[in-house]
Symmetry: C3
Subunit: 398 residues, 3 copies
């Protein structure tokens, strides 16, 4: 085992990344080496954990989380990453304090960072705001560090913004490399990121955007499918197209779920709210127009209901490569007859891939730990090597 | 001191338990060796803590709590056990996430468990539900572990269900062994688990059920006393009777507090709501019938008020063995003239035993740590021995 | 670096303090040696942190916080201090449990303290209550320890009461010693603690009281300035006067902000509610008279509005020593045109001193860690020396 881990660290060592001291907020702003480094470091952490090796580079210091939206699994993944690294978890509960924008953000960002190594942020409710907030916090702590107020510059970890959800999509990518054998094996594989029907409203765009924004980096044939009117943020299309062309893959958009599923190696059927609706919603929320918000929700649910046939059924799956594409989901899925009357996926399909989706999710704590490590240490390979060499067990063997 | 600890570990080593990899959900499903092992390991942890010995078998990993009812002391006991073992505490706040039954439980149980060693659960509000929920979570993580999704199978710790409250009753048992000298010394001692008047409504049945379900294991003469209509779950009586007969003790039910107190060595006067009322309450809650719930509460309070004479007074105490039975309570007690006008116990009785009840409570963190250790390690004696031998202090001596 | 730290520890060793086993609740009840010891130990912790030295004297044990008022920065400072010391953070959320006064306080204080090294408390809402609550908790755990219920006596840390805010003011004092070079250099320096206008109501008195109660200890010329009717608790004036006379400094009260600022070396302009208003407010709150509370708030805001000229403007600053007094604030400040239309300080003044106020705040985690250490260890110098000598890094160097 430790030979395998050593070889991963050796590969990590050869990568010239730009991650040290830089925040990984949007995957399309990172180099290929950066993405590979995250995968490798995550794999090292996962292997060390499974080999019962104490992998904590820290003896104290804070890992701060700010959740501006409900969360269970991301909350626990972040807590796990903190524990893995030896950091003390501390949640900034904005209901127990008052944080707004502008000057207050700068001040609060510094006040919570005197002994802080990472600030994980989820802010995915409003388009045009989440990423900006993270960038604002990032700038604030960078200034605090330059001014000597902060003894260290905390990494800002994007736990989902309005544009991207990189800890999710990198865990998804890790899942793909494990399923197909390597990053290289993904080349020319077809992945269908498709909209799917859900009886709920307002699901963020960050996952579909993040998936097409990431999977176009590795020569995959990426198909984005959704009904008319369910488009993503316009720039995502430009980015995906450019990246596909650079990586030797393709990027297509279709309004047919069948077309997307045809011969697909991977399918990712998931509901989202149209970008245009999210924009109107954000404006109404800002204006506090609750009545109009209710009307928008009704309008959107009615619009969704016209596309109940966008469901990942056995028939749909049968049309994929050899009838057995990998089904992916960030969870929780809307499962027909289980979590709702009709939803994104039929019960039998989900059930067959349930275990796979759990595996997919299982990588998140290690991806987060990797992103923190790579941001905070200039020579992450040396840190991992030392942790491996010191040969301390995570728990006592009996 | 370390000689004493070593001898406890040696005794632990001789016990053939079934605790490794098995959840301790109901004390009456555990063997006598299991119960003795919990007591011994708890005593080791307590002695090591008092001797300033670092007893952490873990370097990271999560201890997750799920509280479906308010709690202070159990919450802090669990946090203390986590700290004692070297685990990172993480609470699943169901108001910040959404967890229901069925598929969702399986998924959530796995999602919070990727690096989790224990999940402590309190779910005592509804009869017929709490234990089932714990069993469901237990099954879910067992499957997740078998499927390779989880690198380890978290122990499920019952922090109080609708049937039993084993971390409380095992702490109570530890208190009894310390008070009377040994487990063996409890033989033929009379313990009165009696209902007592309280002006509040809906107190769980888990403590009285847990006490008669546990204390009948050791040859004690257990008397359960309550007014007509305040019965426990029917199966508890069967279990207690069988156990008493097997252990050479007795189990009797009476509707006279006086009879129970007569010559008792131990008294445990505590209010609870009748099982039959709890069942009706659960049905009304499920049906969302709030008006009828209010009526039921009034009915139940009126019923309580007919039994204000069920109070642990000085007169009552005078009738116990030599007038000085050990008074026990899981706290907080309803103390007449202190926390309410009239309640479970008179102020002078409580005051005389206040310190004793605090001691009784003080064992809980160690009992919890013991249950976790015994579930997670195949050879807990070896782990404890190593912790003792490495001779690391918990805090620096000065 | 380690030579410098060693010399600080040597100085700490020479001080005869009364801090071991005693709670630091009000700075004016502590000796000068006590205050110096806190400053020195805080400086050691800060230097060790910046030198990447693992300074944890504990391997487990709880640091409990009780916040009876909103808090962000103090909450994070306490979490940081806990992490710095190796303690597990645990918040007592009174909305998830029920804690009142009297018997319940004694019981809860013990129930949360079985493995607890420190209880940090913020209780600043009601005059005449906060300090009393802390003293009550302190007495409860002292008894629990004497009775053998608690294996250790947790330190009680005043995270702000109705009278004093010692972790803030000691951090302020540390900031002053760093700005002026030493504690001795503060002699004959003029500090103006002045009221300032704010459009909000009910700000606690603890900071101005704490500042005049502390800064009069070191030979400073302390001027307290506020409009008529904005007096502090009467005893504070007596204490400040006595202390000033003993330390060779002065203490004056004026109703002119200009007079206070004239030739001041340090200015601390900050709003507060008059003591007399706080008393009426406390009575109304106790009586649950919400209408009258609203009327009092309106009355008080109107009263505030008559003093909008009490603002720390560039003109005001120009009158200070060489026009460049040190501006201090506990944050968040009400900044004119930034956080409110008109407030305590003009934007340009605040902006010039923003970095300084962040530095001022940055000392709090170390002050808290110092107070805990000095309370819990008889020979804190030996503990710090051992931590320094063991030469363990806080995080792996790469």
């Amino acid at each position: 085992m430790s030979e395998h881990i050593r070889s991963l660290i050796d590969r990590l060592k050869t990568l010239r990344t730009n991650l040290y001291d830089h925040d990984f907020l949007l995957s399309w702003e990172q180099s290929e080496a950066d993405l590979k480094a995250v995968l490798l470091a995550a794999e090292v952490f996962e292997a060390m954990y499974r080999a019962n090796i104490d992998a904590r580079p820290y003896r104290g210091g804070l890992a701060v989380s700010i959740f501006r939206d409900q969360s269970t699994r991301t909350r626990f993944s972040f807590a796990s990453a903190a524990s893995l690294l030896g950091l003390t978890l501390m949640d900034l509960d904005e209901t127990k304090s008052q944080v707004a924008h502008g000057e207050t953000v700068r001040e609060t960002a510094n006040m919570i960072s005197f002994l802080t190594e990472v600030i994980g942020i989820r802010d995915d409710m409003f388009v045009g705001e989440g990423h900006e907030y993270m960038a604002e916090v990032s700038k604030a702590v960078a200034e605090g560090f330059e001014e000597g107020v902060l003894p260290q510059k905390p990494a800002i970890l994007n736990l989902q913004c309005d544009r991207d959800h990189p800890t999710q999509t990198m865990a998804d990518l890790m899942h793909l490399t494990k399923t197909f054998g390597s990053l290289e094996a993904l080349r020319a594989k077809k992945i269908a990121m498709t909209w799917a029907y859900s009886p709920s409203y307002g699901k963020p765009l960050s996952v579909p955007q993040g998936i097409v924004g990431l999977m176009t980096r590795f020569g995959m044939d990426v198909v984005l499918a959704h009904p008319e009117g369910y488009g993503l943020m316009p720039e995502i299309g430009h980015i995906a197209r450019r990246q596909a062309s650079e990586s030797g893959g393709t990027f297509e958009v279709t309004s047919s779920m069948e077309e997307a599923f045809a011969d697909a190696d991977v399918v990712y059927p998931k509901s989202w709210a149209p970008y245009e609706v999210m924009q109107r919603r954000t404006e109404l929320l800002r204006a506090g127009q609750n009545e109009k918000l209710g009307a928008l929700e009704q309008e959107c649910l009615a619009m969704n209901a016209e596309h109940k046939d966008w469901e990942c059924t056995e028939e749909m799956m049968a049309a994929t490569r050899d009838g057995k594409a990998l089904y992916m989901h960030c969870l929780p899925a809307d499962i027909s007859g289980v979590s709702c009357e009709q939803g994104e996926v039929s019960a039998s399909v989900f059930d067959r891939y349930r275990k796979a989706t759990y595996h997919e999710a299982s990588h998140k704590p290690y991806v987060m730990a990797a992103m923190i490590l790579l941001n905070r240490f200039e020579h992450p390979d040396r840190v991992l090597f030392k942790l491996l060499s010191q040969n301390r067990l995570r728990h006592h063997l009996d």
